[in-house]
């Protein structure tokens, strides 16, 4: 039954996020834009205890092994999208520094064993702030993710995977590997000749020898956010840091599961990225409206189109496309 109402419970939950966004994040927005690569600790220190508590409750509940109901998943997704929109309205760069297992955690949740979940995710329920990340893109593999060249070779003797290669554009790569006890889920191929089906995700933990942050990207915006290049130089990780099976599905197999798993993780993250964009858009739209209102320019929705000023019509267009995009985002959540 069609319903566009966002439950009041969720709206109330957002009040804290709204406060963080408008007071903590906004007041430091310009600072972190000017001081690239400094970390927004005010924001992180507020978020971490809250998230840690949530993670703990979720982690403990997971033992019950109950599948969430459909409606519940929906509520969770909606809550996440609204939260991300609100925090990005505050500051998209700072939001990206949220201490969270992020895409890496999602991959572990999706295909990890119980043991792996404990080994890699329990840390998000305790201690200092931590980050997870995912490393997929390489200099030669952008939109063409199937072209990745980072290799993982199993050293049977030590029962370790040896990783070699370079990953770029890894969001929170430095926070995960060098600035906290986090991890990065790295996509590597166990057999360069077998294409997508040879691509597997590996968990690389902070402090692993042979793993270096080669560069932090200097960017146009979201400068608080750490976008790392990571080099793997004979980096050794335990055999069971591989997520899922080591088996290479044949090309004609319908389930090129490794690659599909990666794509699936990205799929789930799409509405969240969209929500972040929507937060930035709303911030821009609201600020524009406030500045124009201060000049006496407001939109009267009963004015016929031919009598609108150009600026008023721009506002209507901005509001219309913003709303259209927002409804699409909510539906995708």
């Amino acid at each position: 039954m069609i319903n566009f109402a966002i439950p009041e419970k969720i709206t109330r939950e957002l009040e804290l996020a709204n406060m963080v966004a408008s007071q903590v994040m906004r007041s430091k927005s310009r600072y972190y834009d000017v001081n690239e690569h400094e970390r927004p600790w005010e924001y992180i220190n507020i978020m971490w205890p809250v998230l840690k508590g949530q993670n703990k409750r979720r982690f403990e509940a997971a033992g019950d092994d109950q599948l969430p109901e459909k409606g519940q998943t929906r509520t969770t997704a909606l809550r996440l999208v609204l939260l991300v929109e609100t925090l990005s309205w505050g500051d998209a760069g700072q939001y990206l520094c949220t201490p969270d297992s992020a895409l890496g955690g999602a991959a572990i949740e999706a295909v990890g064993t119980e043991d792996q979940k404990t080994r890699f995710l329990k840390r998000f329920t305790e201690g200092e702030a931590k980050w997870g990340a995912m490393a997929m893109t390489e200099p030669g593999a952008g939109s063409d993710t199937s072209a990745i060249k980072t290799t993982a070779a199993l050293d049977k003797e030590s029962n370790e995977w040896i990783l070699n290669g370079e990953k770029i554009f890894c969001t929170n790569g430095s926070l995960a590997l060098e600035e906290s006890e986090g991890f990065v889920v790295v996509w590597a191929t166990v057999d360069p000749t077998s294409g997508r089906s040879g691509m597997k995700p590996f968990v690389v933990e902070a402090g692993t020898p042979g793993v270096y942050i080669a560069k932090l990207e200097e960017k146009l915006g979201i400068k608080a956010s750490d976008t790392a290049s990571i080099v793997f130089d004979d980096a050794r990780i335990p055999n069971d840091n591989l997520l899922g099976s080591a088996e290479i599905q044949t090309q004609d197999s319908k389930t090129t599961k490794g690659f599909k798993g990666a794509m699936k993780t990205f799929d789930l993250s799409r509405p969240v990225v969209a929500a972040s964009a929507m937060g930035v858009a709303r911030a821009a739209l609201e600020t524009t409206q406030e500045l124009l209102a201060a000049e006496g320019i407001n939109v009267d929705y009963t004015t016929p189109l031919f009598r609108l000023s150009a600026v008023e019509r721009d506002l209507i267009e901005m509001q219309a496309v913003h709303k259209a995009a927002w409804l699409l985002t909510l539906r995708a959540a």
Partner: protein, 363 residues
């Protein structure tokens, strides 16, 4: 709680109207456009869905299930079949819905039962005027009261099915507010003028209407003394038309998508070329976004909310969307897009009108 699924009942209705659109409307829509009329039996079959009568309250002979949301679902499907036939078929609504929304009990008793009859009643409405700067909230057709009688003066345009109409709901300016008056076809001073010559929706014959010192009794003023909330009526019209625009756009999108999948050039389907594939993706995105805007506005109307803002944003987005999508459909068909052997040129012509269709539909 947020929910983007329509109810089971609504799904069934959408399916059955969708079948009607595909199997009946699409059989005759080209001929209806060229002949500028719709076969009577098709109108009757459409009327048999009881879209209007199901919305009319029980005490006036209907089923009392009025829902703007259900109405817009029906409009999308009908317009997906053919816009002109849809508007033709639903013309009684432009008379009946304002009566339902704003009529006095006497007015409802007099007109609504007629809207539940077996055959479509001959009712229409006159809102638009033949001016570039027409503002429905400030028409130039005026209603002036003198000695207990209103006198209407002005010219109305785009009055659907006016030639056969028995009653007209005429919108006029009374002291700066848009009010509506129910007129009889034999009203003194009322004349149906020439047929409108338009770019599209030919299967909906429309006419100019002239009002010259046309006397109207006060009880024929919609809503009686207090009149109407014109914004509300306008928004009920805009949401219906926007739903129809979504239907037209979807028709163009689906047709051009299937064409692109089947048209082989340079050894592969043209849909495999990014210029075509990305165009189709954008069409799909914008249609879905438009539909969500329409549904939200309809949902709010059903809650009894004022939606001037929502309706304005929706109309702005939808009017542009339907033109862009219909034009892309023509482009995707290449040279065939320009030919009247294919339907997309007709959808482009029909799509172009939405910016000036105010009042031609009601949900």
């Amino acid at each position: 709680m947020l929910d983007f699924e329509i109810s089971e009942e609504q799904k069934m209705m959408v399916q059955s109207i969708g079948r009607f659109a595909q199997e009946k409307m699409r059989q005759v829509f080209r001929e209806a456009d060229e002949e500028e009329k719709v076969p009577d039996d098709l109108i009757q079959s459409g009327w048999d869905f009881g879209i209007l009568s199901s919305a009319i309250p029980l005490q006036y002979g209907g089923f009392g299930e009025y829902s703007v949301l259900t109405g817009v679902l029906a409009f999308e499907e009908l317009a997906y079949g053919d816009l002109a036939i849809a508007l033709n078929l639903m013309t009684p609504s432009v008379f009946a819905v304002p009566i339902m929304l704003s009529g006095t009990d006497g007015q409802k008793q007099r007109y609504l039962p007629y809207c539940c009859s077996e055959h479509p009643p001959r009712l229409t409405a006159a809102l638009t005027e033949p001016r570039i700067q027409f503002d429905p909230r400030c028409p130039e057709t005026v209603a002036q009261r003198e000695n207990g009688t209103y006198y209407l003066n002005g010219v109305k345009s785009l009055v659907p099915l006016a030639l056969e109409a028995e009653n007209f709901l005429v919108y006029a300016n009374e002291g700066g507010m848009t009010q509506a008056f129910v007129l009889d076809r034999h009203s003194e001073g009322l004349a149906v003028l020439e047929k409108e010559k338009l770019m599209g929706i030919h299967a909906l014959p429309m006419f100019r209407l002239k009002l010259e010192d046309c006397p109207v009794k006060p009880e024929q003023k919609l809503g009686g003394k207090s009149g109407i909330d014109f914004d509300e009526i306008l928004n009920h019209s805009r949401v219906a038309l926007a739903a129809a625009a979504v239907g037209v756009a979807r028709a163009g999108y689906e047709y051009s998508r299937e064409y692109a999948k089947n048209r082989i050039q340079f050894g592969e389907a043209v849909a495999r070329r990014q210029s075509i594939a990305f165009m189709l993706a954008e069409m799909a995105i914008e249609i879905d976004a438009a539909r969500l805007l329409v549904w939200e506005a309809a949902w709010k109307l059903d809650l009894g909310l004022k939606i001037n803002q929502e309706a304005t944003l929706m109309k702005y987005y939808v009017d542009r969307m339907v033109m862009k999508v219909a034009d892309s459909a023509v482009q995707i068909l290449g040279g065939y897009g320009y030919s009247r052997e294919f339907p997309v040129e007709l959808w482009l012509r029909n799509a172009r009108g939405f910016a000036s269709f105010d009042g031609l539909a009601m949900a």
